[in-house]
Amino acid sequence: DQQVKQNSPSLSVQEGRISILNCDYTNSMFDYFLWYKKYPAEGPTFLISISSIKDKNEDGRFTVFLNKSAKHLSLHIVPSQPGDSAVYFCAASVRDKVIFGPGTSLSVIP
């Protein structure tokens, strides 16, 4: 049973445009949602998070939106840059556990 889903395995976006990565979850007990970025042959690095009591969090070019009624969150990257090309993982936490989605590979085309 996949509790955190990222239904788009890959996404291509032109440099300077907006990238929107989506994530759905099934467990209403999740209290935080996080996004991680991963380059090949490296460990994931933290990008941005949002508490379940909020609906938006912004950090520079990155904004995460949470729709609790739809159990859906999205990561917006504006403007997209070639260095943003990586795999993005959505993750959700409850108490001491963190559950990761399968990831979306983003390619930003110059």
């Binding site: 996080l34 933290f46 993982f89 936490s93 001491d96 556990k97 963190v98 990761f100 399968p102």
Partner: protein, 113 residues
């Protein structure tokens, strides 16, 4: 400040062999985690620890064991390696639980043949 370190970087095991993947962090974090990532898949939690002497199972603990005798170290033991354990293993640490960012090591690529 090295962050989270993992050794070895690569390892090839024969079926039935055992090994220990090492993980250490120098940030004095209480929380530590072990994940595996299979090709095209997300990270699956194997085991985690909320402090020295305390460990608990994650999503996929079968075939693995852990111990946490110090705050710094969190080794993962594979007993009787099987081809299904071929994966990339990541260790992570965090100063707090639930919602706080985790710091990941560079990973260990393990092949069981």
């Amino acid at each position: 400040n090295a962050g989270v370190t993992q050794t070895p970087k690569f390892r090839i095991l024969k079926i039935g062999q055992s090994m220990t993947l090492q993980c250490a962090q120098d940030m004095n974090h209480n929380y530590m985690y072990w994940y595996r990532q299979d090709p095209g898949m997300g990270l699956k939690l194997i085991y985690y620890s909320v402090g020295a002497g305390i460990t608990d199972k994650g999503e996929v603990p079968n075939g693995y064991n852990v111990s946490r005798s110090t705050t710094e170290d969190f080794p993962l033991r594979l007993e009787l390696a099987a081809p299904s354990q071929t994966s990339v293993y990541f260790c992570a640490s965090s100063p707090r639980s639930s919602g706080y960012e985790q710091y990941f090591g560079p990973g260990t690529r393990l092949t069981v043949t």
